[in-house]
């Protein structure tokens, strides 16, 4: 199934969003590995796993838990560490 990940903050240099393929029944914690691979396709020098590990995923209304279920066509945002104010 396909998931759109919208990019913010330190991920902005990779564009507005990326699309990743996941197996049926995947959950939020399954996003990181294919997402990381997708970013490396865009920039082969990208190797910031610490940034990825410190990022969360969210919908328009809430931060998702790592075991939240995903479905085909979901659009979610990646939320790197925040720095507002």
């Amino acid at each position: 199934m396909k998931i759109i990940v919208q990019l913010f903050g330190a991920y902005r240099p990779f564009g507005e969003q990326v699309e990743i393929d996941l197996a049926q029944g995947a959950q939020v914690s399954d996003i990181r590995e294919p997402f990381f691979a997708e970013l490396q396709l865009i920039d082969k020098n990208f190797n910031n796993k610490a940034l990825l590990d410190s990022s969360r995923f969210a919908t328009k209304t809430e931060i998702l838990s790592e075991n939240a279920a995903l479905k085909n066509g979901d659009i979610i945002a990646i939320i790197p560490p925040v720095a507002g104010g």
């Binding site: 913010f8 903050g9 330190a10 969360r56 328009k60 838990s65 560490p81 925040v82 720095a83 507002g84």
Partner: protein, 159 residues
Amino acid sequence: MGEIFVEIFNSDEKPINIEVALSHVTQAPNGAETMFIGTVRNHNQGKQVLGVSYDVFEPLAKQSFLEICQEAQKKWGKDLDLYVVHSRGRLNIGGVSIVIGVGSPHRDEGFKACRYIIEQIKHRSPIWKLEHYVDGDSEWTKGCELCEHSHQVPEHSHG
């Protein structure tokens, strides 16, 4: 019941207006208006800063502002009038990044609510800061990692 206003303004279209914020929370039942104004400073961690650009995930940011304001009302009074606006886009030194206005019957709850709102926003709201330096470089500042359920983080000072 106090009123809550939360919004994101694009800096190039609608700069934050502090007088408007103040007028929102200046209501007849209130004897105290408390404001927090965040501005862009010209240095950070030894580097000279020219300006910053804020990135915002708007729907979730506004949702977080609303939840934080409702928490403040629960803690310090349903009658608090609250105004929170954050900038998105490029700001130069001295530019206003955020304004928080609290209108309250008395000063104590106003100070506490204002402090609570800014600290919670810094820890919970999906907003990011790209600093632009004098040497031509730019860098996303290190921020706060969100918890899985990021609610009511400790009120320690920050940034």
